[in-house]
Amino acid sequence: MALIKISEPGAIQENERENEIVIGIDLGTTNSLAAIIVNEKVRFFVDENGRDIHPSIVTYGDKKISSIKRFMGVGFTELEGIKLAPSEVAAEILKHLKKLAEKQLKTEIKKAVITVPAYFDETAKNATKLAANLAGLEVLRLVNEPTAAALAYGLDNDAEGTYCVYDLGGGTFDVSVLKMQKGIFKVLGVAGDNALGGDDFDDLISKHLGVSRAEARKIKEEQTIDQALFEKLIFEKLEKTFTLTKNLLDDLDLESSDIKGVITVGGSTRITLIKKKLAEIFGVEKVLDEIDPDRIVVAGAAWQAHNLSGNSENLLLDVVPLSLGIEMMGGIVDKVILRNSTIPMALTKEFTTYADNQSGMKLHIVQGERELAADCRSLANFEIKKIPAMKAGLARVAVTFKIDADGLLTVSAEEKFTGEKQEILVKPSYGLSEDEVKKMLLDSLQNSKADISNRLLIQTITDSNHDITILQKDLEKYVGEDKKLIAEKIQNLENLIKEKASRDTILEAKEEMEKAAENLILEKVNAVLDKGIVGKRIDVI
């Protein structure tokens, strides 16, 4: 069959990797950007007005949804009176960026590297991946935003040494420490807060001055607010970011003098107080300016896309931001993978039964640093079944936690006593039920016009082939004078399918074939009816 090619999933992977275009996307709370590397330079995708910074706003009728990133991973949410899954809204932003890129490059884009806050948890990362899938994009890699920024800065400046990235965007705060040397970017550690950003400053201004959030934002950006008042309002929020920064250094056993430079990222870092405070912590000469805080993350995403297309020697080594553990008896968390472990990473822990003949074991997987499972984010519950009957403490179940290079988790289990392997994979959670995810994927397919026509064509071909097979079989036994005509029409349809003709042409030929075979079909139907009816009671028919 010429039209529907079926090949082993792994077989074409390598080729595709080298030939296909991969774009970099910064999916931001306030703005989103997309870029690609052309001739070793970052090229941004612009809209019809030539702008490369695209507001992360999606309109539904007269309603405008903004800052959707703050809701990633929380399931269905009511925003502006509409019940929405955040992944669906984010997908609209991604579709827009994809379209701009396709227009500019004049080719279909199927793959992307997307940046996420380093402190995004498992669920929010999965929700981002789902959004990309809904937009028809395969995520080649999720890259942490501060890591992407460091990559772009490092490549641009041949930076070597230990650097700190302070990333304060519209909705999230990340701080990251990296070691850079030629061709290697190793993240040493990250910290952050997923609910701290410029939006919060807008809220504070809006509350204090009694204006709308939009007005507050304008006041902030145009600095038509008394500087002292503004700094007083946001002081507490900012203090938190500096505490997190200092704690991270502490955590990594680093002094501020070990840091060679501080890369500031995100629109909020335009606030003078931030630069002043960072200068106090690190020394004024360490705070690097001349960085475009809005474009550096997408530049990094584009470079990583370039790397993954096999175009460079650079390597990013990232970490998992939060510890992963299992809830033990009494609700205490037993940490299996510690925060700031370099990924990919896998660790195995052994568990045993606590009652005689215990046949199953329930595991609750959580993410976070707190001691009690109730204070951590619940990721998944799963059950190991069919443990052979034996005395308490004899069964040994090895549970393996594996985190891939995107920072996403899978868990598998093996019962050691019998040597029986039980692969139990934790399905990615999006903060949504499985059915909700399925429905969204289906809807996204139906919404895409290109997809619909393609699916209709495939459906028409499948139907035609089905009819051809049946007709050819029937034709062997057929003796009518129109036998030759039917054979010709079948041949004609077969040829058109082979030539990859349009759906309409194939449909037309299919109808012609059916019309030519009318007598044959009628004869067949009659024969079947005769056979079926004879000797049967009427109420069975």
Binding site: Q13, E14, R17, R141, Q181, G183, I184, K186, A191, T243, L244, N247, D250, D251, D253, N307, L308, E313, L315, L316, L317, S341, T342, I343, P344, M345, A346, L347, E350, E369, R370, K402, D404, A405
Partner: protein, 152 residues
């Protein structure tokens, strides 16, 4: 039990050359990391193994525990491993009570205990090395708890 020192072609010693370790580590990851190997499962396993080994060798506490394990003493997973002694428990308790439990003091304490561990490992006194390492691990746990507390 795999010898992580062998993996990086380093002698099985507590004191190691961290620069050589890092250089080898980067060299390996440039070859095996999924970004470079194209998500092939064998290479991912390699990349994971290298990350694990590197993390163990990089941390003095884990490195010491690894040497002990290679010599038949599992201080990390074995329930039969020696427990922390009363004196250490009391020392930390008193530090907490007096209210001057500082990260700096704890780090200093761990450092000096590790020097003792190193001495004992060199002299192949594995049992006493294990005993001291367990004390160091207790102080380390206290230090980590102190750090985590600051986050919340």
């Amino acid at each position: 039990m795999k010898n992580f020192f062998d993996l990086f072609s380093l002698p099985t010693n507590f004191s190691i050359d961290l620069d050589t370790l890092e250089k080898k580590y980067f060299e390996f990851q440039k070859k095996f990391h999924p970004d470079k190997s194209g998500d092939k499962s064998d290479e991912i396993e390699q990349s994971i193994a290298i990350n694990e080994a590197y993390e163990v060798l990089l941390s003095p506490l884990k490195r010491a525990a690894h040497i002990l394990r290679l010599n038949g003493l599992d201080v990390e997973n074995d329930v039969a491993a020696p427990k922390v002694d009363q004196a250490t428990l009391l020392e930390v308790f008193e530090m907490r009570e007096s209210g001057d439990l500082s990260a700096k003091d704890l780090s200093q304490k761990i450092k000096s205990l590790l020097e003792e561990v190193s001495q004992n490992l060199e002299n192949k006194n594995f049992a006493s090395a294990a005993q001291i390492l367990i004390r160091a691990k207790y102080f380390e746990k206290t230090l980590q708890d102190l750090k985590v507390k600051k986050w919340h």
